[in-house]
């Protein structure tokens, strides 16, 4: 299958491991990945901070870049896909552009978060990965409650050879990131992060994984500050790992 990749602005600029792993994983499974190089950002931060007018050109740009790129679009980010699926058409309609809203809806219907693409579209749970570590999974809020990915990421992780999956207590509670919330309400965000980290550390896991780079940046940033010794790794990186290692 020909699959267009949304690298996500954060993944492209700060955490290229996640989109790289997505490419390697999908190619290993025999699919063709294209990266439309004109892509920038889905506009989520602007929408969720209340700047819907600033998001409108970004929505238009995203729809222009991806509409003809491939039959199926994937992003290794629950929140970016959440924005595409649940907010792009709303932003377009609010801006009075019904044509864009329809195009955004059409694109949204073909846009998947990585675990959705693998399980629902490609019909695979065993991706042939090998990752000999003790891992906990944090189901990010937008994957869980906006996209309803359910246990798809866990089904993928359970098939990874060598991996020990441990349950994270209160896993479904937000880590406190929330985009600009982490800065605008930094103290409340930190209080939420403290509880998330306490739960992470209670499991004695080596690795905390999730399907969203931004939440991992938050949890990982806190774990690093504490010098906790626990690292955060995107789900795509685990699924891309094999006994031969990651070939990026």
């Amino acid at each position: 299958m020909r699959i267009a990749l949304v690298a996500t602005c954060l993944g492209d600029a700060m955490f290229p491991q996640a989109p790289r792993a997505t490419v390697e994983l999908l190619e290993r499974l025999g699919h063709e990945v294209v990266f439309p190089a004109d892509q920038t950002c889905c506009g989520q931060m602007y929408v969720n901070t209340g700047y819907l007018d600033l998001a409108l050109p970004l929505v238009r740009h995203h729809v222009d870049v991806f509409s003809g790129a491939a039959d199926v679009v994937v992003a290794p980010s629950g929140s970016c896909v959440g924005c595409v699926r649940h907010q792009h058409a709303m932003v377009a309609r609010r801006g009075g552009d019904e044509e864009l809203a329809r195009a955004a809806e059409d694109l949204a219907a073909r846009t998947y978060e990585l675990s959705e693409l693998l399980v629902d579209v490609l019909g695979v749970t065993d991706v042939g990965a090998y990752y000999p570590h003790r891992v906990i999974y944090h189901p990010t809020c937008h994957s869980l409650r906006m996209l309803r990915v359910g246990d798809k990421p866990l089904r993928l992780l359970r098939e990874v050879r060598g991996l020990t999956l441990t349950e994270l207590p209160d896993a479904e509670v937000c880590c406190g990131f929330g985009g600009t919330f982490a800065v605008k309400n930094a103290e409340t965000s930190t209080a939420m992060l403290a509880d998330k980290m306490a739960n992470v550390l209670s499991t004695h896991a080596e690795v905390c994984t999730a399907g969203d780079t931004s939440c991992l940046m938050h949890i990982g940033g806190g774990l690093s500050r504490l010098r906790s010794g626990v690292r955060t790794v995107h789900l795509a990186e685990i699924l891309a790992s094999t006994e031969q290692g990651v070939t990026a």
Partner: protein, 503 residues
């Protein structure tokens, strides 16, 4: 936090014996606090006792709710039914209100219309004065807390006694409620014992913090008042338009005392509390107790229709309160906030509420629903309006929507109210300029690549493998508690380009 600023203000300028805060000068009543959410949250987060009390209470209620919701096979269908009924009510609210007025009047009640909090208070004060009473008993009512009725009564020399246990605790300690359902959720039982010993006349000096002993002390205190009060004041959970039936749902039996013993009953309801027919109660009386107290059935559900000669109050007044609700109704999306049945499930599941408590929201309506309802009721009056900070008091985690028994899309309304807050800025703020600059950088691929290259300068800060701080506005808020990895040597698009060249 023991009291809010509002509470402290009340202590300084207290004129009322029973000590509720003084009358709000805002015509909207208590829909605005005095400081933005992050400032109030700063204090709450540092109050370790508050944090423990809230954490314990919300965890307990969450578990109870989850258990009783889980046992209903058609819970999702019930939620959808509640959503549809409420949407139908909002679509024809004016017509239903006139129908309610006609049916209440036909059964011997008197209906009053109040534009805002001040007008509602004036109506109620005049009605109480006309009876000659100088004391009223109240069963918990969010609407009269919204209007600041107790303060208005106090200024008129009329003492208002709250009869719900938690409301009594709040009232005795000169405090303000911090939760719809458990207004003293921020207190633990030893604090409550201290309040009773300090403030309750004639209380047993050997009172312990055993819940039963505390409840019996309150009972003895209240019973005398129930028997002597000539006027009762209530709120409304549901008002049935076609029969004129009013329903109040409570857990302690104090409601039935207030609703039946006095000669005069005055009921204040927000105009959105209407349901078209009696049979619609079937849906809400299933949704509400399971969502709020985590009970299968509500303990005390009172319903009455107008006046029954020789039985119960012989004068019944219904005050219909707008206080901004017409403005909310005018917003096609925003009106969903009026669907709220005040169950407080969204408060109990909200990770922000759990950590800051209700006082941080300023408005009498806290939590996720308060964050979308309060700014809509008051409107957002410029960038310095404290209610402009409420829609941002959420990480948009979405737990509130999943818990809401009438499926209010609170995350969407939060975003919508953030847009309203931005629209009220007038002159561009620092945040506006930063967001515009960032959006401009993202607008074209060329500029975005340029930005990525510029970001690599950040590697200078991260030579130890992590960045602990960087200069610049907003950075301190992030780096107060979190590191950041240094930007990568190669962005994804650079890697992709290199790979394409190779192949």
């Amino acid at each position: 936090m023991t009291t809010t600023d509002r509470g402290r203000g009340a202590q300084r300028s207290r004129t009322v014996e029973l000590g509720m805060p003084t009358v709000a000068s805002d015509p909207h009543g208590h829909l605005r606090g005095r400081e933005p959410f992050p400032v109030a949250a700063h204090r709450a987060l540092a109050d370790t006792q508050l944090r423990q009390n809230l954490g314990h209470a919300t965890r307990t209620i969450r578990a109870k709710r989850a258990a009783v919701v889980g046992e209903v096979d058609d819970w999702e269908e019930l939620r959808r039914a509640g959503e549809c009924l409420k949407a139908g009510v909002m679509a024809r609210l004016p017509e239903l209100l006139e129908q309610l007025e006609a049916s209440v009047t036909a059964r011997g009640g008197v209906v009053h219309w109040a534009r805002d909090a001040q007008e509602a208070n004036r109506i109620v004060v005049d009605l109480v004065r006309a009876t000659g009473a100088d004391e009223v008993v109240k069963v918990k009512s969010m609407a009269t807390q919204e209007t600041g009725l107790n303060e208005a009564l106090g200024e008129a020399g009329i003492a208002a006694l709250e009869t719900d246990l938690a409301e009594l605790i709040v009232q005795l300690s000169d405090d303000t409620p911090s939760h719809f359902l458990v207004p003293a959720i921020h207190r633990n039982r030893s604090e409550i014992r201290d309040i009773f010993l300090r403030e309750m006349p004639g209380v047993d000096p050997d009172l312990t913090d055993e819940p039963r002993r505390l409840a019996m002390a309150a009972r003895a205190h209240l019973r005398r008042k129930f028997l002597s009060a000539r006027v009762g004041i209530s709120g409304v959970n549901f008002a049935v338009a076609d029969s004129g039936t009013i329903s109040v749902v409570e857990s302690e039996g104090n409601g039935r005392m207030c609703l039946t013993l006095p000669d005069t009953l005055i009921t204040v309801m927000g105009v959105e509390k209407i349901v078209p027919t009696w049979s619609d109660l079937e849906v809400f009386l299933q949704l509400l107790p399971r969502s709020s107290t985590g009970e299968r059935m509500n303990p005390y559900t009172s319903t009455w229709s107008g006046v029954t000669p020789g039985d119960g109050p012989q004068a019944f007044h219904l005050v219909l309160l707008d206080n901004g609700r017409s403005n909310v109704l005018a917003s096609p999306d925003g009106r969903q906030a009026l669907h709220c049945i005040r169950c407080s499930a969204c408060l109990n599941v909200c990770p922000v509420y759990e950590r800051t408590g209700g006082h941080a929201y300023g408005s009498i309506y806290p939590g996720p629903i308060g964050a979308v309802l309060s700014p809509q009721l008051t409107g957002i009056d410029g960038p310095d309006d404290v209610n402009a900070s409420l829609p941002y008091a959420s990480s948009l985690c979405g737990a509130c929507f999943d818990a809401c028994p009438v499926r209010i899309d609170i995350p969407h309304l939060l975003v919508q109210q953030r847009a309203a807050a931005v629209a009220a800025h007038g002159r561009p703020t620092a945040q506006d300029l930063a967001m515009r600059a960032a959006a401009a950088a993202m607008a074209t691929p060329g500029r975005f690549s340029l930005l990525e290259r510029a970001m690599k300068l950040g590697r200078l800060f991260g030579r130890s493998g992590r960045i602990r701080s960087v200069p610049g506005p907003g950075a301190a808020a992030w780096f107060g508690a979190r590191d950041m990895p240094p930007p990568p040597a190669e962005t994804f698009r650079e890697w992709w380009a290199r790979r394409q060249e190779r192949s």
